[in-house]
Symmetry: C2
Subunit: 371 residues, 2 copies
């Protein structure tokens, strides 16, 4: 149980930092409870363990050193005690150890998370996982546009919409909330990685209670509470990128298209990944690459139901397309195309498919690369 | 089948090299046969594929580019053809590609393995695997003593002895040969990694035919033949390191000792890994660490049958000891100790245990680190 708790807490410590204290776990022994805390300043975690014990003590202890010892502990119960600035661990079968830490009396020795009030939104963990993983997959790495590094959560009524984009692609998914006590729309920009870290420390069958405070959001599931820094908004009006007039549409098997793109990806220019899709209402989609740099070509025809002018050609980054396809929930998908330079819209097809939309920007087919 | 053949061949290409030709696969199309070759100069492989076809052609083609395409090929048969310097691959379901290579008429464009005569020794692959993996595990990385980078194979009669050592530890295992046509003792120093690479390209239920030529040894299994550079001997007389007078001996469970050492390893000085074993005929072995640098200690007692003076203490590198224990074939093992500075001898215990001996040199217990 101690090992499981530490496994949750350790990812929240800072590994390379000028603030040495952040490499520690803050352990508070209270009557019948042990509280573990860790933080890298952007994220915090506090984990509560039920124990039997009457004494009180507070220790800072190297997370790595403690975790290395704890994960090699013999199976079964262990006895913990604090002797000055040492944590002692004993187990029934001849094992004992003593790990040096720093004894502390004040919480002020360790950065504490901000005070955050009661939760306003409750989400099933399986729903929250999908929102962060699919809705947040298109976040940007661009330091210059910090807001795009987060996923845009819009909570309202019993539903939530999550979107992310890096300018080349966009994802938007909707989910149903378990509970929402906030009457007004609540809009938050949250790094999806923080949510996935919380869920990694939680039971996927449980629920997450979300609360918002000054610049931070907190997630609570059972004995685990994590805190993540919110990213300052406003988030750009991404909906204007989503095309409303689709001139050409193809319905195709996600896996067949993905396989063809995997074959084109290995032949394509490794940097641009330029792959051409050529549409025909009779034969389907011809996926092809003409990589003049290395003198290789490939083509693969994939069955599709296409409506639009025959012979229409459009270029895409094969790797980005493959990654996008891996996020779509259904086996058959619809590709809606506006023009060779406008955003293409990819959506799932079928009964009971979840509400989700994906955008991929095309690549220009340069004569020098492709003819 | 093409993918499986390439998977065997690709590890033998050079990845970073000034000789660009070594990043290629040499493909020879002959009537009803395709021959694939690759080499990094120290090792060669040739692989034969049976096909149907009457034409002859020879191509050099980038191993990475070809393998990337081939492993994404649709399931089922493919048709290969050569058009000038391009390899064309077609499959039944709408896929075709053309990969640029370099057409060549002469074998001299690609480094060929040396001529090596008929095999003299035949070994079951499962036996050869054990010889290389266990007998060769203690090879040195020291560039200054190249001979220790190889495992020392001594073939004689129907048996083979394999040893390796880096000065801190030593392994020696014996095995039975399937066939040996060489009447005299045959002594070879072979990098165990070359043998494991050959076995990776072979069926573990098969046999390997070993032949020796000028500075090279070759291994043949079915359609696969590999060649490895021999390391110049003579190999040092390692047997003089193996102690013949054992003053103290303990019999202990390999797994229990290994678990105790894993616990000591995490508390021990990360560089020296110094761990103390203290022997007692009543209580067994106390494995302990006093790491003054970080102020942590641990001890764990392990049951053992010990004969020798009580309270005898000896230091070892915990990580080297754990790795050694993972090589020993039996559950219960015998540790024979000469002195606090002489080699310790670890051997398997039980009926039908294979013939194997392991040496570990102790570490000095310095007063500054341990008391």
């Amino acid at each position: 149980m101690l090992a499981r708790a530490l496994k949750k807490v350790v990812p929240f410590t800072a590994t390379t930092t000028s603030l040495h204290v952040l490499t520690n776990v803050f352990i508070q022994f209270l009557p019948d409870i042990i509280k573990l805390r860790a933080t890298n300043l952007d994220e915090h975690i506090s984990e509560v363990l039920n124990t039997t014990g009457e004494w009180e003590a507070t220790l800072l202890i190297s997370a790595k050193r403690l975790f290395d010892v704890v994960r090699e502990l013999p199976a079964g119960d262990v006895t913990l005690s604090v002797d000055a600035d040492h944590l002692k661990i004993n187990s029934g079968n001849g094992f004992s150890c003593s790990i040096a830490g720093i004894s502390t009396e004040y919480e002020s020795d360790f950065p504490m998370p901000p005070e955050i009030g009661d939760s306003v939104v409750v989400v099933q963990n399986s729903v929250l996982d999908r929102l962060a993983r699919i809705g947040g997959y298109a976040v940007s790495n661009d330091q210059a546009r910090a807001v795009l590094q987060g996923a845009y959560f819009q909570f309202f009524g019993d539903s939530v919409t999550v979107a992310s984009t890096d300018g080349h692609r966009l994802a938007e998914v909707k989910g149903v909330l378990f509970q929402n006590e906030e009457p007004d729309p609540l809009k938050l920009v949250i790094p999806p990685s923080a949510i996935l870290k919380h869920l990694n420390a939680s039971d996927l069958n449980g629920k997450t209670f979300i609360a918002v405070g000054e610049g931070f959001v907190s997630f609570q599931s059972d004995t685990t509470r994590t805190y993540a820094k919110l990213i300052d908004g406003p988030y750009p009006d991404y909906e204007k990128v989503i095309p409303d007039t689709i001139k050409r549409a193809a319905i195709v098997s996600k896996n067949e298209l993905s396989e063809a793109l995997r074959r084109s990806s290995v032949v394509a220019n490794q940097k641009t990944q330029l792959t051409v899709l050529e549409f025909d209402s009779l034969t389907g989609i011809k996926v092809s690459v003409n990589n003049r740099e290395v003198g290789s070509t490939m083509d693969q025809t994939v069955d599709a139901e296409y409506t639009g002018e025959d012979g229409f050609r459009i270029g895409f980054n094969a790797k980005l397309f493959i990654e996008l396809l891996s996020k779509v929930s259904s086996d058959r998908i619809r590709i809606g195309i506006t023009s060779t330079i406008g955003a293409s819209l990819i959506t799932p097809i079928g009964e009971d498919v979840p509400e989700e939309r994906f955008i991929l920007m095309p690549l220009r087919i340069l004569d020098a690369e492709e003819d």
